[in-house]
């Protein structure tokens, strides 16, 4: 049974302009983990910003994802649902990376026991598999172009079927997020093809 607080939280989110649906995912400990909004909004960024503010009042740890209901129309023009990064954490105590991704209202979590660069890429592949994608690639290299901030990370994946490599590049606020985004970048076209084929 939902508490009054949970009910009011959902009602507040639903009162945002253009919001059609609210999905709330909880951790096994009962804490709200991800809040997914499906919105028919003219300004999805503004909707996400307002929803994040509301969520921060009720559940500060929750990630907020806004799915664009209009995107289905775009899908027909060849743009598949996009995989979005919800969070990427590196636990310095146990040396594990955890990455959570979202696509089309679903979320997947992947963990890997390496540093932010390799761990970030491996955890991303695991999260994609958790989302149900069959990703026939193995991680070859993860390279930080230089040991400084604001420099890109390059990820190389090798196909399990042949030796065709895929490359992805991303620059973000830290190595972990860069590694995740570079991994997604390398698989971008492959994932779109899967979505179009309904896999």
């Amino acid at each position: 049974m939902m508490s009054r607080t949970e009910e009011d939280f959902e009602l507040e989110l639903r009162s945002l302009p253009g919001v059609l649906n609210v999905g709330i995912t909880k951790h096994s400990n009962g804490n709200v983990n991800v809040v997914t909004l499906v919105a028919n909004s003219k300004d999805p960024l503004a909707t996400r910003s307002a929803a994040t503010q509301i969520a921060s009042l009720y559940y500060p740890e929750a990630a907020v994802v806004v799915e664009d209901a209009n995107r289905t129309l775009n899908d027909a023009r060849g743009e598949g649902p996009r995989v979005a990064l919800i969070r990427a954490d590196y636990d310095t105590t146990d040396g594990f990376c955890e990455v959570q991704l979202s696509v089309d209202g679903r979320t997947g979590i992947g963990r890997a026991g390496s540093g932010p660069l390799i761990g970030g890429a491996e955890a991303t592949l695991a999260a994609l598999r958790d989302l149900g994608y069959d990703v026939p690639y193995s991680l070859m290299t993860v390279t930080n172009v230089t040991n400084g901030r604001d420099w890109p990370v390059i990820v190389t994946l090798r196909s399990l079927a042949n030796d065709a490599d895929r490359f992805g590049i991303a620059r973000s606020e830290d190595d972990l997020v860069s590694a995740v985004k570079a991994t997604l970048d390398s698989l971008n076209r492959f994932l779109s093809t899967l979505e179009q084929r309904g896999l």
Binding site: M1, L20, V22, V38, L57, A69, R71, T72
Partner: protein, 285 residues
């Protein structure tokens, strides 16, 4: 695809393509004892709201062994709203299909349209009641409590304080020079500032405290289990949250503590107000 006019087609399509029970509304023929009983049970425990919609969808799915069910409602305050079994998000693909019209969408499609109609009507009622209850108690601009619910909260706090000696501090907050800001930058900007202030206020209060907008640029807070001197912590938190939002507006506070100052709500309000204006007077002087 199946709808009211096509009830015999095969139930092989997915949830996104099935629509049942989008008729004009609840009728005598659509009376459903299980639904009526559920509503009575729910009403005896709490008020109908969003949670009730999920309870109904859960019962409905169990009753008809549905693997998925969603209800689409159209509400005056909200526009189109979709609710899915288990509080799950609908996919964007579903949203595009469900957006067509209000109704109950079932997978598999095995439920009589009349029962779907009854479920939809009950869900519509629950959403309307929740919205009405929320609107009656909250300020629409800031989403914090309004004057009416604040007065009720103050009455309750004061009565407990008088009876059990539980301390609380009433803080009145007045924005400085807000009228000048409004006049100079326009009401739209003024509303933006008020929304930000309301948000900062919500961040600054603790669980169990009450924050309310009690006038145009006047706010009030009930700090539970707090003596007067503890209100400085709240004020600092509020300033910090305003800075984080990039909101430079300044404010003045006046406080009164129960039971030390009084246990009468009107007297507490009068004292806090007098102290607030005393501070403003000092500031002006």
């Amino acid at each position: 695809m199946r709808d009211d006019s096509d009830e015999d087609s095969e139930a092989t399509a997915t949830l996104t393509s099935i629509r049942v029970g989008d008729g004009p509304g609840f009728s005598g023929e659509a009376y459903e004892p299980w639904l009526f009983q559920t509503m009575l049970n729910e009403l005896s425990e709490r008020e109908l709201g969003v949670g009730f919609i999920y309870s109904i969808l859960d019962l409905f799915a169990n009753r008809h062994q549905l693997t998925d069910v969603a209800v689409v409602l159209v509400n005056e305050g909200f526009g189109t709203q979709m609710f899915r079994l288990g509080g799950e998000a609908v996919t964007t693909d579903m949203a595009a299909h469900l957006n067509a019209s209000p109704g109950v969408y079932c997978e598999p499609d095995t439920v009589p349209a009349a029962e779907c109609d009854a479920v939809r009507t009950a869900c519509q009622l629950a959403l309307s009641l929740h919205l009405a209850r929320f609107s009656a108690a909250h300020d629409p601009l800031t989403n914090i409590s309004n004057r009416r619910s604040f007065d009720e909260a103050l009455e309750v706090a004061a009565a407990r304080s008088a009876r059990y000696g539980w301390a609380f501090t009433l803080v009145l907050v007045d924005l400085n020079s807000f009228k000048a800001v409004n006049d100079k930058f326009g009401h739209e900007f003024g509303d933006h500032l008020l929304r930000q202030f309301g948000f900062a206020l919500r961040q600054a209060v603790r669980q169990g405290d009450t924050a309310a907008r009690v006038g145009g640029d006047e706010f009030a807070v009930i700090l539970s289990n707090a003596e007067g001197h503890e209100s400085s912590g709240f004020t600092e938190r509020l300033k910090g949250h305003l800075v984080a939002l990039g909101n430079a507006i300044e404010f003045t506070t006046g406080t009164a503590t129960s039971p030390r100052d009084s246990t009468d709500p009107s007297e507490l309000l009068r004292m806090a107000d007098a102290r607030l204006y005393e501070k403003k007077g000092i500031r002006i002087a």
